[in-house]
């Protein structure tokens, strides 16, 4: 579904991602793990089209999206939930969700149907539909950015640190939702610092360190073969 091959990303002379490769099969949930500065978010931003690759290739469903713009990437079927939880604070929850469906704006019936489905999954968003998104709590904003990404009806969802800065009870709910999305057949790439939870939902995982993939495998293999704390603590 998503193939990343020998991908490099640079910020000026600093190489944040150094020739990494990984794949996501249809309906798979793959976790990208690693400490701060390992290059996870840069990888995601590059796949999403927000950063230019300095080398390598990215294909989505066989289509090359390496140098695609963010809007072309969405049209190709890939939606991104950034770690910065970028809701549009002055827009209402409903307007945020409406923008999520921008690429399907002529299919109003389909959007209504999708919205109803998402309101079932995230009932709080239905309650707060007419409230400015900036007034939502952190957990609700996280739900909103996930729901907004799903309004584009993606085949692949990139989730960047969905648990960042949230209370444990909310984190649990977010991961329950991720499981639900996985069961619905969505292909998900999850970047997460919360290793245990990320491995608990993942089919496979890649561990990154200093811009390269150091270990990959199933969650059990990762737990058995890799000293994760070393990668997180830089040991």
């Amino acid at each position: 579904m998503l193939d990343v091959s020998d991908l490099s990303v640079s910020y000026g002379t600093i190489r944040a991602v150094r020739g990494i490769s990984f794949t996501l099969g249809k309906g798979e949930l793959v976790s990208l793990l690693g400490a701060n500065g390992a290059g996870k978010s840069s990888t995601l931003k590059c796949i999403a089209g927000a950063l230019k690759a300095s080398g390598g290739s990215i294909t989505l469903g066989g289509k090359d999206i390496t140098s695609a713009s963010p809007e072309q990437v969405v049209r190709a079927g890939l939606a991104t939930v950034p770690e910065t939880r970028d809701v549009f604070p002055d827009l209402t929850v409903a307007e945020n969700l409406m923008l999520g469906a921008y690429i399907h704006r002529r299919d109003q019936a389909g959007n209504r149907q999708n919205l109803e489905r998402l309101h079932t999954l995230f009932p709080r968003l239905a309650e707060r539909s007419h409230q400015p998104a900036g007034t939502l709590s952190g957990g609700e904003q996280q739900m909103l950015v996930i729901a907004r990404a799903l309004m584009s009806r993606p085949t692949v969802l990139l989730l960047d640190e969905p648990s960042l800065g949230l209370a444990p009870a909310i984190v649990e709910r977010i991961f329950e939702m991720i499981e639900t999305l996985k069961k619905s057949g969505l292909t998900i790439l999850l970047v997460e610092q919360n290793v245990n939870q990320a491995l608990a939902v993942a089919d496979r995982a890649y561990v990154m360190r200093l811009g390269t993939v150091v270990t990959s495998g199933t969650p059990d293999e990762i737990r058995a073969t890799s000293d994760l704390s070393a990668h997180y603590l830089g040991g």
Binding site: A50, P70, V74, R75, F88, P89, E95, G134, S152
Partner: protein, 296 residues
């Protein structure tokens, strides 16, 4: 009573024109974080279109529509000529290209039309006066008030109720995120330039309606007014631009009425002193814009 009515009409008509000017500038600034210094020339383009079509025998309203259309076209050309090629580079580069484009248009008018003022055709109604509650006021002031109300309402509707408007507001908050939802950057920016051109075109007709002639530098004063109004109101807030426009008009009109003839020539010095006081009190302007923001 008559004085109060006169005062209110003056503030509202001047404020309406100032608000529309400011709105045209802030729509671009909100999205690109860049001031379009060629904005005044869009007003000039509208004026010269009126002048050039004046001998055509077309009804005035058609000439006015053509003037607005030309301002829109030149607004979009500004994007393609001055902004798009250097947008991803430095802010300085865009400042220079936008100044250069402004200069180019002014000099083209100097060279191909004339450095001297040219009469712009205006319907009779623009020079008529009307008495309201004892206050005698030009009808063009009432036209300006009506046009401002209609246009401000139309812009509010566009920005709040249409997908394009909501996408433009989202892009003004976080352009990259809007693009990551599939909102096409170039369409949003071109739409903002078109809307800015539309406002400049209408303002051009109303503004030139006050003076009756067009010269190559006719856009300088509206640009300055728009810039000050947006600075007072908040550079990134659409309601702020409107508030700033009306506040600036209130200051100007109050000074016009209260300063003696000797001091009136220093009116701008008084206006700017008050603007400085407002900015010392609210450095970010009266109304804060969207919480975050970034350029492409």
């Amino acid at each position: 009573m008559a004085f109060a009515i006169q005062f209110v009409i003056d503030v509202l008509s001047l404020g309406g024109a100032y608000a529309l000017m400011a709105l045209g500038l802030v729509i671009i600034y909100g999205i690109l974080r860049l001031v379009n210094f060629a904005y005044g020339e869009l007003i000039m383009v509208a004026g010269y279109t009126m002048f050039l079509t004046s001998g055509s025998g077309l009804p005035w309203i058609i000439m006015a529509v053509l003037a607005v259309v030309m301002a829109i076209v030149f607004g979009i050309i500004t994007d393609y000529a001055a902004f798009r090629p250097v947008r991803a580079k430095s802010v300085t580069a865009v400042l220079i290209t936008s100044f250069a484009f402004s200069n180019l248009l002014q000099n083209a008018a100097l060279l191909f039309i004339s450095p001297r003022p040219r009469n712009v055709p205006l319907p009779e109604i623009f020079s008529e006066t009307v008495s309201i509650g004892g206050a005698i006021t030009p009808v063009r002031n009432l036209i300006t008030i009506a046009a401002s109300i209609v246009l401000l309402a139309a812009v509010a509707f566009l920005m709040r109720k249409t997908t394009l408007g909501i996408a433009m507001r989202a892009a003004a908050t976080n352009f990259t995120m809007a693009r990551m939802l599939g909102v096409p950057a170039n369409l949003i920016i071109s739409s903002a330039f078109a809307l800015s051109g539309f406002l400049a075109g209408v303002v051009g007709i109303l503004w030139i309606g006050r003076i009756g002639t067009v010269v190559p530098g006719v856009g300088m004063e509206p640009l300055l007014i728009a810039f000050i109004a947006t600075v007072i109101g908040g550079m990134r807030s659409l309601p702020g631009a409107v508030v700033g426009g009306f506040l600036l008009a209130l200051i100007d009109t109050t000074l016009n009425y209260s300063l003696s003839q000797d001091l009136l020539k220093f009116r701008d010095a008084f206006t700017f002193s008050l603007v400085i006081v407002i900015l010392l009190w609210r450095p970010e302007g009266l109304i804060k814009g969207p919480a975050s923001g970034q350029r492409t």
